[in-house]
Structure formats: C-alpha cells, structure tokens
C-alpha cells in the first residue's frame, strides 16, 4: 500500500521557514496569505501499515518538535 506521512512543526514551536515565506509573498504580489507553515511529506510503499505510527515516532518525525499525520492508501506510487 502506498502511504503518505505529513510532518509539521508542533504548534507553539518556532517555524522560521514558514515565517520567511510568509514575509516574502506580498512582495511577489500574493496578498491575503497568512499563517504559513512548512513541513515535510514522506511517501512510501508499506506492506504493514500498522507499523506506520511507530515509524513516525522513531524515524520519520521528531516527536519533540514535530506533529505527524498518516494518510493511508493514497493513489498510485508517485514514482516507479
């Protein structure tokens, strides 16, 4: 099964990347954008999806500073 893990900075944790992008956007003529946060996306084929939560805790995310969200069975592998 193809799964996707979304990792984002925990609420309350400084997100310098998100800040920088948010500050840049108006200059490019994109207005009305707010609350920008930048995280990671991991996509993988996994035989046993029940392993995913532990995988996130131990490797894919850093639970101290990041939250994660598991999206099971997404479409097609994006990559062969």
């Amino acid at each position: 099964m193809r799964a996707r893990v979304l990792v984002r900075p925990k609420q309350g944790i400084l997100d310098p990347q998100g800040q920088a992008v948010q500050r840049a956007l108006p200059a490019l003529g994109f207005t009305g954008v707010d609350n920008v946060h930048i995280g990671r996306m991991i996509e993988l084929d996994v035989e046993d999806p029940s392993q995913l939560p532990e995988m996130c805790e131990r490797l894919l995310a850093n639970p101290l500073i990041e939250d994660y969200e598991i999206v099971e069975s997404i479409a097609e592998p994006a990559h062969s």
């Binding site: 925990k10 609420q11 309350g12 400084l14 920088a20 500050r23 500073i65």
Partner: protein, 719 residues
C-alpha cells in the same frame, strides 16, 4: 513556617528554591512574592544564573593582565590586540538542551555565544566547539548525539557566516548520559566600539530587538501556569528552542550598525532567564531601575501569561538602552535590516525592576534581590576513597606489537582524524583564516595590518579525573602549547567548568582542585582569565561525568605569514624534541585502550621549564627557524610523530631518548619540531625527516600511507 508560606512551598520547591532561600526572599521583600516575581526569582537564583556553588571558587582565578580590556562580569571578555583593535571571546555550555534535542540544542548554543560576543560590540569572527559523548562504537545514542550536534553547530555557524575554525571531541563512557556541548566565539572590534551592558540615564528608552517572544524554553517555571495543562493545551507546554540563524544574522548586522552610528547607550543579549536576566543585569550594572510594559512585548503566541513572557528563552533577541532622541534613527536602521524593534520600557531613577501590565505592576522587585542577594554556598570537598569511574572495556591486552598499538591508537575515536566533523563546518568565510583545521595546532586568523591571532580550545576529562589539579593545569599548558606551535603568545583565557553535582563532596573536591590547578597554571604562564561559564549537575544515576574544565586561549603573533604548521615539510630536515617531557602511562589513551581505569597521579609539571619550552618553540616559529612544530598530546610521542608525517605526506626516522615510552603522555610540555639541522643545533635532535615510512628505532616502522588510512578511518563510520 506560616500557613500561607507552606501553601506556597509546593511551588517554590518545584521551582528549585530551598526553604532557606525562600525565607530569605520573603525577609528581603518583607512579603511573599507573587507568582510572576517567584518565576523571576527562581531563575535568577538558579545555579545557572547565580553561580551559587562556584562564584566563591572562581575568585581564585587571576583576572588581571596588561592586555585585558574587559574581564569576568561582562557578556564576554576582551583583550587588546594592538592597532586599536580588541578581541572579545567567551565559551559557554549548552549541555542539557543538547541532550534533549542535539541538533537544535547545539545550534542554539552557537547562537547564544554569538550574541554574548556581539553584545559587547564585537563582530563574531570565529567559532570553536568542544564536545563530549559516550563511546561511539558501543552506543548508537552517542553516534546520534554526535552527528546531530555537529550538524547543528555547522547549521548555525555556516548559515550566519561565522567560520568554525577549531574545536575538540572526546568520547568517554562517563558522558553517555550527559553529553557536553560547549561553544566558544571570538569577536573583533575597534576598541572604541566595545560597549558594556550597564543601563544608564533615567528617561532613556529600553528597546527589545529581534524575534517575537514565544513559549520557548520556559522549562520548570511552567508549573506556574494558572490553569492545569490538559489535552489540547500542547501550545502551553514549554517548548524546545529552534535556532534561526537567518534572524540572528540580521540582528547581528543591525546591532553593529546601531553601534557604529553611536545610537546605543548599552546593549545586552537575552539568554538564560530571558528578559528577566537581561533587564536585571542591565539595571544592576548601571545602578538604575527599569520599568517594563508587558503589553508592548510582541508575542508569537496568544494568551501568554506575564511570567511566561518574563522568563521566555526565545532565541535571537537583544535588549538595548537608547536616548529618547535616538529612537527614531534606531527604528530606521532596524527597519532596513528587517529587524523588529519595540520600545518596551524605560530606565528609572531608584533601584526597582517593575513589570507593568495596563498600568498595574505585576512584578515589583528591588534589582538587588534579583542579582545580588542569592546566597553563595561554600563547597564541602572530600577526595573519594575509591575510584569514581569504572574501567573502560579493553581493546588491547598489552601483548601487542608497537606497530599494532600505534595503528589502534590512530584509529581510536579520541585520536582519529576529525575530518568527518570539520568538513561540515565552513572555516574560511570572512577571509581571515590563515590556518585551518589539521594544518596547525591552533587556528590562525589574520588581523588587518599583517599580525594575526591564534586560538585553541582544550580539556582532557580523563586526565582531570585521574588528578584534578594537574589535569586542569595540563589543559592550560596544552592550550598554550598549541598557540606556541603557530608562534602565538597567549593574551587571555576563557573556560567552561563542566562538572557533576557540586553538593556531593567528591565532585566538590574535583571542582576545587581543578579550579586551583587552573589558577596556578594561569599564574605561572601569566595568562589572565577574562571570562567563562560553569555547567554543574552533569550527573547520571551511574555517577558524574569526568570533571571537564574546557580551556580556550587567544594569543597573538606579529606576522601572519610566519604562522607555524604541524606538517613535516622537507626531506632531510632534523627533528628535535623540545621541553621537559617526562610522560607516564597514567590517564593515557593507551591505558584506556588497555581497559585501565582513570586513576593514578599525572607526571609533575616543571612550570619554569615548560614556560621556557613554550617560548623556545614560539620564537623558533616566529623567526622562521622551525619548519614545523607540534605539541605532544594524546597517544604520546609516537602519535605526535605520526601526525607530523601524515600531514606532510613524508616519513621520518627517529631514536627516542632513553626511557621514553612512545605512547606515554604528559600534555602541553613536550614538542616535536623540525627544521634545517643548523637551526636545531641547540636542541635535542632525535631524528630526520624523509622517506615514506615512520621509523622509531627498536620500536616500529610503518608506511605513512598505512598511518593515514588508520587515522582517516577512525571516525568516518561514526559521524
């Protein structure tokens, strides 16, 4: 104790205050502190801020010297390097945050020490790092901490454009539970730009510069949160500090421009205890009061409580005092650098620190109680009856050939090449770096006008564990020896005292002995201590870390072009042994590899003879008489020779003086130098440079390529 007081007791105890300390607070105040005041006091009276267990001891360190411009007490020390220029420097620990989150902990450690240096008006020009971890082969956790800490240091230093020019790493079982991450920074300033933290001028404006204030690193104080934290209150939990070198880069450039334009009355970084510490230090040093208006402080998160705002350790912030007529100009400069600047208060006559919220004082304390009234404790030192540290696992049994021993030493984590680490650091940005890692024993940075400064950082915990007094002295001598090898004369010293729990008699003994050893060595070499830092309670259930005083010395050499190198350079050059080198196996790397515990007296040091040897090497390098100079350190004379051969890709043949064990150690007292025979005529010549192998007569002969492979292999798999 009164009923009210005992009801408060739960809180202040959780905040780390003793009953006695709380009594003192109440007596000084004539009332119970409110929660905001309690949060502020508990942090200002913490070991970290108040140096409760070390301050008295630190008074033993010599701090006077002809070159000293700023000594202990300022954010960083500073020495005069001539031509109207000053070098500011300081080393600081970030051990505990790095144990929790090594990448961010190490990164913010660098960010913090950089702020201490530009807080006194100096542009950071170099970073060094001193790291300690558990045994990397044995422990996956140690490998993880190592690679993450190194990546974090590189991330911050590289991104902000300050070269990381040196450092040191040791691996020992005793650091398994308590890694050490110490960072040192040097800054360059015109003497006239140096500025102190003392606030002045009632009516002047207090301006907060830089990042928004969030719930970063609120730590223990969170027990004061008015509401019990439950599910979904994630945001209210104290959070790990994230380093933002990009913001600090802008903050740095902005502060230096503000100083160049003469707009600031005083400047102070925000570090431990955040605003509370910064404001009270500035007020105390200037003998004034300060009012802070909480509502003006720009926050990153909604609903922050007053105590959270006052103790937040959000990074990349500075505090300055400005005359009212300068505020406009200041705001313009800050806008240009995209640095947030907010007037948050004012300097007042009198002696109180008042925190106001919509006109009402949520905290109103005498500055003195925050800064001066914390009790200082005497240590109760007692030497331990039995050894404190268990022996390491043996990898050699004492029957191996000298060749096998040398290759094993070169491959061992404590001696192997640091290339996998320093290749992750930019050592050349700012175009001053005359000697990079592995080129010489100290980093060398050119000054405008042809002279240069040299810097090194050293401290071998296992030797201090054997013999705290001599071990600490050795750290000073080794650091000075590294400077001598590039031709530099020491100007000033900084140090970081990393120890276990000082309330335990044997740790108190280690600390007392080590500081005594430091003081003696500084006196003997005439090197003043201009600053430093103390990190205590580095202790696990299994026991304390090795007592680890880390020493950083800054020196000067008149001619950058003549900076020394460690590499043998020329076929046929003579090799000499300089210094009163009388090593023993106690506390040596070989002893460790043979599974022997950190115990046994270190060889005695002959201060005058050592000082003379340092002078001889320094003068030989400066005059150009010596083509190479290298101090003999871990692994003894055999490893030192191997390093000179590997660096020069050339062999050597030597005969050791009678009775010198090739692997025995005495740090900072002996040197291997090379040069034309006539230049070494006065010295103890022990051999010649040449060929493609290192031969120590009656001991070993190994191809330089084999030595290099062993040395390069060591850490490559571990970082």
């Amino acid at each position: 104790m009164s009923a009210t007081r005992s009801s408060a007791s739960a809180k202040y105890r959780e905040l780390g205050l003793t009953d006695h300390e709380y009594e003192l607070i109440v007596d000084h105040l004539g009332r119970e502190p409110n929660d905001v005041e309690l949060a502020m006091l508990s942090l200002m009276w913490s070991e970290h801020c108040a140096y409760k267990h070390s301050k008295r001891l630190l008074r033993r360190l010599p701090t006077e010297g002809p070159h000293v411009l700023m000594g202990p007490g300022e954010n960083a020390g500073a020495v005069d390097v001539g031509d109207g220029l000053a070098i500011a420097f300081k080393v600081e620990s970030h051990n505990h945050p790095s144990a929790v989150e090594p990448f961010q902990g190490a990164a913010t450690g660098v960010g913090g020490i950089l702020r201490d240096v530009f807080a006194i008006g100096a542009r950071p020009i170099a970073v060094l790092d001193s790291l300690r971890f558990g045994e990397p082969e044995a422990s996956e956790r140690s490998r993880y901490l190592l690679s993450q800490a190194v990546a974090g240091i590189g991330h911050y230093g590289n991104s902000i454009g300050v070269p990381t020019v040196g450092g040191e790493i040791y691996f020992e079982q005793s650091y398994e539970q308590n890694c050490l991450v110490n960072a040192m920074c040097l800054g360059l300033a015109p003497r006239a730009r140096l500025i102190r933290a003392a606030a002045a001028g009632p009516g002047n404006v207090v301006v907060l510069l830089g990042a928004l204030t969030g719930r970063d690193g609120i730590g223990g104080a969170s027990v004061l949160a008015s509401a019990e934290l439950g599910e979904g209150d994630e945001a209210k939990r104290p959070s790990v500090q994230i380093g933002d070198p990009f913001s600090e880069k802008k903050l740095l450039e902005c502060c230096l421009e503000l100083l160049d334009r003469g707009l600031l009355t005083s400047l102070q970084d925000l570090g431990a205890a955040g605003l509370t510490s910064a404001v009270s230090e500035m007020a105390s040093k200037g003998e004034v009061g300060i009012d802070i208006d909480l509502c003006r402080i720009p926050l990153r998160e909604p609903g922050m409580e007053p105590f959270e705002i006052m103790v937040s350790e959000s990074q990349e912030r500075m505090l300055c005092v400005v005359a009212p007529e300068c505020v406009g100009a200041l705001l313009d400069v800050c806008e240009r650098w995209e640095v947030l600047a907010t007037p948050i208060g004012s300097v007042t006559t009198g002696d109180r620190l008042r925190v106001l919220q919509r006109g009402a004082a949520v905290a109103d304390l005498p500055v003195k109680i925050l800064v001066d009234d914390c009790p200082l404790y005497d240590l109760e030192p007692e030497p331990p009856e039995q050894p404190l540290y268990r022996p390491p696992t043996a990898v050699l049994n004492g029957t191996e050939s000298a060749e096998r021993v040398l290759l094993t030493l070169l491959r061992s984590a404590n001696i192997a090449s640091r290339r996998p680490v320093f290749e992750q650091y930019d050592p050349v940005v700012q175009s001053r770096t005359v000697r990079r890692p592995d080129e010489a024993d100290a980093a060398v940075l050119a000054l405008p006008g042809g002279a240069a400064i040299a810097v090194s950082i050293d401290g071998n915990g296992r030797r201090v564990a054997c013999d705290p007094r001599r071990g600490a002295a050795e750290a000073v001598y080794e650091c000075a020896a590294n400077l001598a090898c590039v031709g530099a004369e020491p100007l000033g010293l900084t140090n970081c005292l990393n120890f276990g729990n000082p309330e335990k008699p044997h740790v108190a003994w280690q600390l007392t002995e080590a500081v005594t050893g430091l003081a003696e060595a500084c006196e003997q070499l005439g090197v003043p201590v201009v600053g430093g830092n103390v990190s205590l309670y580095n202790e696990a259930p299994t026991g304390p870390i090795f007592p680890t005083p880390v020493v950083g010395i800054v020196g000067r050499l008149p001619d950058a072009a003549r900076a020394g190198r460690l590499a043998f350079g020329q076929e046929g050059d003579a090799i000499a042994l300089v210094g009163p080198f009388d090593p023993s196996s106690a506390g040596s790397e070989l002893a460790k590899l043979q599974g022997r515990a950190a115990a046994g007296k270190l060889p005695p040091i002959d201060p005058d003879a050592v000082a003379q040897a340092h002078r001889d090497v320094r003068d030989g390098v400066r005059s150009g008489a010596l083509r190479s100079a290298h101090d003999i350190a871990e692994g003894g004379i055999a490893v030192a020779l191997a390093e000179c051969c590997i660096a020069g890709s050339i062999g050597a043949t030597v005969t050791l003086p009678d009775g010198i064990d090739p692997f025995a150690e005495a740090l900072g007292q002996g040197f291997i130098v090379s040069g034309p025979a006539e230049a070494l005529a006065e010295m103890t010549v022990i051999g010649r440079v040449g060929g493609s192998a290192l031969t120590i007569e009656d001991q070993l002969a190994l191809a330089v390529s084999e030595l290099r492979d062993a040395r390069e292999l060591g850490l490559s798999k571990l970082v």
